[in-house]
Subunit: 361 residues, 2 copies
DNA sequence: GTTTTACTGTAAAACGTTTAACAGGTGGAC
DNA sequence: GTCCACCTGTTAAACGTTTTACAGTAAAAC
């Protein structure tokens, strides 16, 4: 019943040819007479034969697998990356092994270690911190590697694909200032992650330059529920800012949750700029103004770089830096500028405080 | 520079032992003298040696990989499934190969075929239609297989883990009727998918039993943006129902998008029950009442069943059916029942029509 | 008619592991 | 003192492919 799996030899015997011929039929690297080919194909189908990848890979040394490592498989940013990579990999005949580091440096190393055991043709990794995992740094000479998102391009010894995080911060900051805001909170995840720091730096620098005021950054972690608690707690001991810029999609969720819980209205009481651009962000009465990362481009670039490397390109590691765009929608209200014709900020602040009082009861 | 990868033999030479000893150190299936063991471990570290899985698997016949096939890697329901499976797999020392069938029967077969090439220890698959892929049906005797979500448990020849879709429809339907609704639209994805049909059947049966009216099902597909267009279009040629029950998280998104676009208020103009329960559903002023699938339990059960099979359990295939729960929040308004004290439904309908008129301009 | 060339098919040697079978040495039981 | 068991370590044979080298045949070139 549980019959042994068919091998090249079984097919060869049944078709009355040598295993080399069968192999040639399957790999196509040598012409095979039509009649024989058909015999082989029929035999293979009858035995539901399937090349054993382990054996194939062992002998040929070529793997047709890429490893993809991300910090969190529940974060839609990373899964949409994976979805796109999986598609391109499929088209080129590669399979994808996924691993999640769960934002844990140690797990990251160990996941990479087992990933490497597959002798993959390449690795696309989103590190969980901005120090490149030692195991990758060591392998980078022999293993095509592309680092995505959470990287400092200048420090990396491999190809990188990142967005211009500083610019992203600036874009959001400038827009908020243009809309009259200067009392701004930055909803960060972790301040020790390079791209987050850059987003903060971008926003802070432009807001400071234009208004003289410094936005305050709050670290909410990378879990939406816990982040909501932290932000709610923060709201209790600080005056309500006139605008919040969320620096990741998870902190966007955290901020929204906290705000909803305290019945603080967007954008009447506080304006919001979200990060990333997902369907749910527009599927609401007040659609969210958001900084959009070009996920498609990120995935495509990462794959293209990886492919080049897998084809043997040994040139200097190259950083690719993509721009984000601001999707203007309804969650950012124009308010009168502080110090302009009327003391709008104060008014806004007190109104908000009143409402909050209300909701905390 | 691009040095050859270290093998057992390299380590053995450097440590001055035989390759069998090195293998024993790594697999631990035979005791090795402490001193030798340490020599081996040091040599391995110095060469950054790593067992070649292809060779190991070829020889031992054991794989320590499971394949996971889902219909869509952009659907959070499936990715949260994967996330949980990956964690449990990790704990047992398995790696995970993911593949997406992109809701395409043909691609599904071909993805499964390549998945099988890995000789995985097991496969967890969410079929894209309710007919079990032929290739799996054929393999099921020798390959541990668990089918999840989109399956008809009675028809499957493998273990299945599903929710009680009929019951889910009933729960939502009953709740809507209790809240006074009888004019109900069902936002389905595809009506040819068994679980969707069951959800429809559940909702229709209970609503019909309690009110005599039959909810109408609309097929919106499995893409939120396109679904929103379809639903918007549907709204234009039908009177606004008093409630919508979305049967998947994607159609939830589609409905929300269409409603937001036409400025139809939830729950004032139309009530909504969402499907699945994600953070973004509560992170809004009117948090969504939703049917919650026990994703954790689904993933856990699927893994446990798979593990049993991988350990050799050859008993009859067993279906596991889990219950959903209704998370009552703010998106479903209580209205006066049709035919009761006041003609609320008609009033509701005309108000909605007016508003819609407005938005279509 | 002989030599080339081209074309197909096969034999056989790896690839890096696991693992059965064996070898050598030590210590205990008798 | 002999025998046996035990403990460690090694040898060598697979596993199912890919691929090189070669053989055989037929067609083309001379």
């Amino acid at each position: 019943m549980t019959r042994r799996r068919a091998t090249l030899k079984d097919v060869a015997d049944r078709a009355g040819v040598s295993i080399a011929t069968v192999s040639n039929v399957f790999t196509g690297r040598k012409a095979v007479n039509d009649e024989l080919r058909m015999r082989v194909e029929r035999a293979a189908k009858e035995l539901s034969f399937q090349i054993d990848r382990a054996a194939s890979q062992l002998k040929s040394g070529k793997a047709r697998v890429v490893g993809v490592l991300v910090p969190d498989l529940d974060d839609t940013f990373f899964t949409s990356l994976i979805s796109r990579i999986e598609l391109m990999a499929l088209e080129e005949g590669y399979d994808v092994i996924v691993a999640s580091s769960r934002d844990d440096r140690q797990l990251e190393e160990s996941r990479l270690h087992t990933l490497l055991g597959w002798r993959p043709s390449g690795i696309i990794a989103v590190p969980c911190s901005d120090t490149v995992p030692t195991i990758l740094a060591r392998e980078v000479a022999r293993l095509p590697t592309v680092l995505v998102d959470r990287v400092v391009p200048e420090a990396a010894t491999a190809d990188t694909v990142t967005i211009d995080n500083f610019e992203a911060g600036q874009i959001a900051g400038r827009y908020l200032v243009e809309m009259g805001h200067s009392d701004i909170a930055l909803a960060a995840s972790h301040l020790d992650i390079a791209p987050i720091r850059e987003r903060v730096r971008g926003a802070v620098s432009i807001v400071q330059e234009l208004t003289g005021k410094e936005p305050v950054a709050v670290a909410l972690g990378s879990n939406a529920e816990r982040g909501a608690d932290i932000f709610a707690h923060w709201l209790e001991r600080h005056p309500l800012p006139s605008a919040v810029f969320a620096l990741t999609n998870v902190t966007t969720l955290a901020v929204l949750t906290a705000l909803a819980r305290q019945r603080i209205d967007i954008p009447d009481q506080v304006s919001l700029i979200a990060f990333d651009d997902y369907t749910w962000m527009s599927a609401r009465k007040t659609a969210l103004t958001a900084i959009r990362q070009p996920v498609d481009d990120i995935a495509r670039l990462a794959w293209e770089r990886l492919q080049l490397r897998m084809e043997g390109d040994a040139s200097q590691p190259r950083p690719s830096i993509l721009s984000t765009t601001l999707q203007v929608r309804d969650s950012t209200r124009r308010i009168a500028r502080a110090g302009d014709e009327e003391p709008a900020v104060a008014e806004q602040g007190s109104a908000a405080a009143g409402e909050r009082q209300n909701s905390i009861h």
